[in-house]
């Protein structure tokens, strides 16, 4: 699919119309931005809490994506490509920021064995639940963050394995743990395990 943009030139008479044809790189980018723009915004939100820095991160991700499409070879799906590039750009951002902000990140396994610091009633409405979910995701190390985000985006274990590069078995274990953590943190204390 190719996109065409029209530019009219006022200087000459009669008016000349030039057609700007999208390169494959531009076309792939447009397609990715249209299809995964919202997912990329959610991803940026999960990697950066500060609104200004988040805007910068999102721009960085879009730039990385556009640049990457110069070498897009269709050996994997557009979705896998987009998520790999976006997660790599976001993980680099986290590593860079860690050096300046000394943030402590944990694994899903560590979260699983740690009691929830906030009371269950804190999740009084959806906004608060979302904030708590975001806070939880933002404490995770990059790889586990990729897995939980892909899970929340609705991707299956095979797709997550393709994006992260870890084995499907390992992904399945991590998802099991993620579900445990989510269930424990967002259920009323008494409902756990039901």
């Amino acid at each position: 699919m190719r996109n065409f943009a029209q530019k009219s030139c006022k200087k000459s008479s009669p008016p000349v119309t030039t057609l700007i044809v999208d390169s494959p790189q531009d076309a792939h980018y447009r397609e990715a931005a249209a299809e995964y723009g919202a997912a990329l915004e959610r991803l940026a939100r999960a990697y950066e809490a500060d609104p200004d820095r988040r805007r910068d991160l999102l721009q960085e991700i879009h730039l990385a994506l556009w640049r990457s499409f110069a070498g897009f070879n269709r050996l994997c799906s557009l979705r896998t490509w987009v998520y790999r590039v976006a997660h790599n750009a976001a993980a680099s951002h986290v590593l860079r920021e860690r050096r300046t902000r000394a943030q402590v990140l944990v694994t899903v396994e560590e979260l699983e064995s740690t009691p929830d610091p906030s009371a269950p009633e804190a999740a009084a409405d959806q906004r608060q639940s979302l904030d708590r979910l975001l806070a939880l995701v933002q404490t995770l190390k990059p790889l586990d963050r990729q897995v939980i985000l892909s899970y929340l985006e609705g991707l299956d274990a095979a797709a997550i394995s393709e994006i992260t590069g870890i084995s499907p078995g390992n992904v399945a274990t991590k998802i099991h743990r993620i579900k445990n953590v989510l269930t424990r943190r967002f259920h009323q204390a008494g409902c756990y395990g039901e």
Binding site: Q126, P142, H187
Partner: protein, 195 residues
Amino acid sequence: MANDLNPDDLRNLWRDQPLENQRMPLDEIRARASRFERRISRRNLREYAGGLLAVAIYGFSIWKQHNPVMRAGSAMVIAGVLFVMWQLYRRGGASQLPADLGFLASLELHRRQLIQQRDLLRTVFRWYIAPIIPGLIVVVIGSVPGRFELRYLARMAPFLGALIGTLVAIWWLNRRAALKLERQIAELDNLERQS
């Protein structure tokens, strides 16, 4: 229900969250990309500009000088500088990581690049400083007049001091940068161990 969310509810909550719908026009992306490319080109140019300047200065010296020792020394410095530039080209060039690699693969590749850069900085004396020292020594010897006088040494002292100071500063700055990379590698190892 909000108090009692199961993982599927949370998935829906996540995907239905309100967004700002931030978009980045292609023109802006292209402009930023070309700014980035220009920055990389300038950095690459800077890496070689010093070397090219040294080649030009000592080349001029060979052409203008009649003292054979000075000319030999200048030729040795040029050979040393060309060797250093070749080493920079061969091992130095900061390559971009392929953006589409899986996380673990890109972490591993990034780690290998950091180790390569660290080793390059650690051994800076061997491949950056040492190759030009013999030529510089010969140039200094060649510049001494037939009859050695103490006042000549005094006149040369600031020049020699600046030269030695520059070489020591290059060595020290590179060692410091190597230590910084060492810390980044340790951080990556920590991430990888727990991934």
